[in-house]
Symmetry: C2
Subunit: 148 residues, 2 copies
């Protein structure tokens, strides 16, 4: 993290990713921004996995410290503070797409099964899709919606 | 999980993957088998992230219940029980490779930086690499070593 020395269990690259985003919530916040164009604390609170406010606050702070999110403060109204993905965060999109592909295969109830065209692109046209989505999200759009 | 009804926070495919393998240890166990050919409780205990025995036992049980690992019991010596990846587990290899690629970029100390040829294949020849590794691990080999 910025400004403090991290103690990693190991420098195995799989362990690094697990330590940075391998908890029950971090990747859902990255998803909310990248896939659904969510921006604010209130937006993330409203997601259907129902993250508790104190956990959300701590995860947002951590993701900013990790350099995955950037916080843009509104000087007049804290509820309007919004979060965007840095390049380090945007580069998690390929990981999210692999998760979509895997879950579509193994969760019979996966919502991804209603998005066959999208899943098919993940499997057959991944590099182009990754590049396209990174560009779109970086410009303020999202995978499945506009800004929230 | 097999034999019990799972209550998911949502059927978002990203959430599904997070709920199944999004903890601090599960993907390290999958890594140990796929990348290093580890097989037994003792092998996993020896990994440098130093998982505690009780947590390891609970994770192994859970990964078997999830259908990600298969447990092969030795009738005479429990220490020789060994674990292999099912197809569902083998299909996590692409996710692990994305983690390697991301960490190689963002962890200055990543061991992956000493494996440039491998990282380069992840980025440029991913589909062939995924297929090759799945086949190799399924046959009892591993990404970086033989059986432990």
């Amino acid at each position: 993290m910025k400004g403090q020395k991290r103690t990693l269990r190991s420098h195995c690259p799989i362990n690094f990713a697990v330590e940075v985003v391998g908890d029950k919530w971090s990747l859902l916040i990255v998803r909310d921004i990248a896939f659904w164009g969510k921006l604010t604390f209130g937006d993330f609170s409203g997601s259907k996995e129902k993250i508790a406010s104190n956990i959300l606050a701590s995860r947002l702070e951590r993701l900013v410290a990790e350099g995955i999110l950037e916080k843009n403060e509104d000087s007049e109204d804290r509820r309007k503070d919004f979060y965007t993905l840095t390049d380090k965060g945007l580069d998690l999109i390929p990981l999210l797409l692999e998760m979509v592909s895997w879950s579509e295969r193994y969760d019979a109830g996966a919502e991804a099964r209603r998005q066959q065209g999208f899943v098919s692109r993940i499997r057959k046209d991944r590099d182009a899709l990754n590049a396209e989505l990174k560009k779109r999200v970086k410009a303020g759009g999202s995978v499945f919606g506009g800004a929230a």
